[in-house]
């Protein structure tokens, strides 16, 4: 059976008129958690600022939604249709009476060496020595932060694919009123210096910032180690091994505790929670979303006389958060999990 296209189109007509308020709903579903219900910022930049509206094009917004900011928390929204992206952009336009900017895609030539020198002198303190962006992108949910607006990443494939040279030039020339990004013309830079800076930023495209796992096969989602002992001994060993590795034992339960009536639990499937509170606090400060997989959890299973210890692999989970500041920490955690499980087999 093929779908009947004309009747499908007819069925879609009411959906179409609903698109306007869909913009508000889609924004609330996909963006408000990070950018605030009305674009006031939460994490990331305050999208609703009139100065940002005046400096950005609708195409910049569309591309930003499509590409996200790899490694900088903002995901690429591959699952939104073109119409849905348009609806979100239209909704964002309703925050401000002003018209969005328009820029041609013209490339601005410039002296890279001079641009690089100026970048180190005037920009690196906020945007990072390699343009990787200010630290603490994920911090701002639920936790205090020092700077209200984080300097965004410029050395970022998502930003570079979304912006135009003329937009960068306009931002450097005018500054973004209401943010720490000031006008560098007012700071004394000549137009040629600005052009050199634009060319330098554009040139970041030639040397993408490598993420540690780029190009490598994805790590296994689950770490597992077989135990030579029975389940009870393995659990006891695991607790001891965690403690020698500076983790505190939190609790032990069956996998199904709480979802089956008391007394009906399957005791061949156990969970042991352990925690290093210093690490937990540090991880939550880097990105509060990681609490989803913390404190550290081991699952111990006895099946057909064989006992296996398992843990979800932090190094793999790190990828779904799209936050490069987590990568190193998660890699360390993976090593710790393996050490604890291996120690438990001794």
């Amino acid at each position: 059976m093929r779908p009947a296209i004309p009747s499908l189109l007819l069925a879609l007509l009411p959906a179409l008129s609903a698109l306007a308020d869909d913009g508000a709903r889609l924004y609330a579903q996909n963006c408000a958690a990070c950018h605030g219900e009305r674009g006031s910022g939460g994490i990331g930049v305050p999208l609703a600022l009139p100065s940002i509206r005046a400096l950005t094009t609708e195409e910049y917004l569309r591309r930003s939604i499509r590409h996200g900011r790899p490694g900088r928390v903002m995901p690429a929204f591959a699952s939104l249709s073109a119409a849905e992206v348009d609806a979100i952009v239209a909704h964002m336009g309703s925050w401000n009476p002003g018209r969005p900017a328009e820029y041609a895609e013209t490339r601005i030539p410039g002296d890279l060496a001079n641009g690089g020198k100026l970048f180190q002198k005037h920009c690196a303190s906020c945007h990072g020595a390699t343009g990787e962006g200010g630290k603490g992108t994920g911090v701002t949910l639920s936790r205090p932060r020092e700077q209200t607006i984080m300097a965004p990443a410029l050395h970022n494939a998502g930003f570079l694919a979304s912006t135009t040279d003329l937009q960068i030039k306009a931002i450097l020339t005018q500054g973004v009123t209401g943010t720490p990004m000031v006008s560098f013309v007012r700071k004394g830079l000549k137009e040629q210096d600005i052009d050199d800076l634009v060319a330098f930023v554009r040139n970041f495209e030639q040397s993408p910032l490598a993420r540690p796992d780029a190009g490598k096969p994805a790590p296994e989602p689950v770490l597992s180690v077989e135990s030579p002992y029975d389940l009870k001994t393995t659990v006891a060993n695991l607790k001891r091994a965690a403690e020698t590795n500076n983790f505190i034992f939190i609790r032990e339960q069956t996998l199904d505790e709480g979802i089956v009536p008391p007394g009906r639990e399957n005791h061949n499937q156990q969970i042991v929670y352990v925690c290093n509170f210093g690490l937990l606090a540090q991880a939550l400060n880097t990105d509060p979303r990681v609490g989803l997989f913390l404190p550290c959890r081991f699952t111990i299973l006895e099946q057909a006389g064989k006992v296996t210890m398992m843990a979800s692999n932090p190094k793999r989970l790190s990828q779904i958060f799209n936050n490069s500041e987590l990568d190193e920490m998660c890699e360390k955690l993976t090593k710790m999990y393996l050490t604890i499980m291996e120690d438990a087999t001794l």
């Binding site: 609330a28 995901p75 499937q269 296996t308 398992m310």
Partner: protein, 151 residues
């Protein structure tokens, strides 16, 4: 012209196979305060046919050791027969069971964060698991939508 373009986009979106999700986390903001959002969440989980397994009080543990934090909990939920059957046949899934959602305060609002269950399909490509993850994702979206809309 523009209408036609939107229509075509809608039709192709409907007919095309689901695109890969680069947005692998689901994160929503509730207008309710922490206690209100927690209650709405627990009711929504039950209404979707799941049992609330446990609430992990991450903030309590942190504060007991002198770390500053706003309210932060992790809610675990599942269906007894489903968890038992999956653990039996696909023990590798066990570290991800029962399902969970992080819920934490941001001032007088509340944020909820969890991974898309569809991501598990990348971790565990067995074809018979695909419909399970798809159902979890559909249920989860309904749960989160209720919390997001509650006032």
């Amino acid at each position: 012209m523009r209408t036609l373009r939107i229509l075509l986009a809608l039709v192709s979106a409907l007919l095309a196979p689901a695109a890969a999700h680069a947005d692998q986390m689901l994160i929503i903001r509730s207008g309710q305060d922490f206690e209100g959002a927690m209650l709405t969440l627990q009711n929504a989980i039950a209404a979707q046919g799941y049992t609330l397994a446990r609430v992990q009080r991450v903030d309590v543990g942190l504060e007991a050791r002198g770390y500053k934090t706003d309210k932060y909990r992790v809610v675990f939920y599942g269906k007894a027969e489903e968890v038992a059957a999956l653990a039996e046949k696909h023990p590798q899934l066990m570290p991800f069971l029962p399902l969970n959602i992080a819920i934490f305060a941001e001032g007088d609002q509340t944020l909820l964060a969890t991974n898309r269950p569809g991501v598990l399909g990348e971790f565990f490509p067995a074809p018979e698991l695909k419909p399970v993850f798809a159902r979890w994702e559909k249920d989860l979206l309904e749960i989160l939508e209720k919390v997001r809309e509650a006032r």
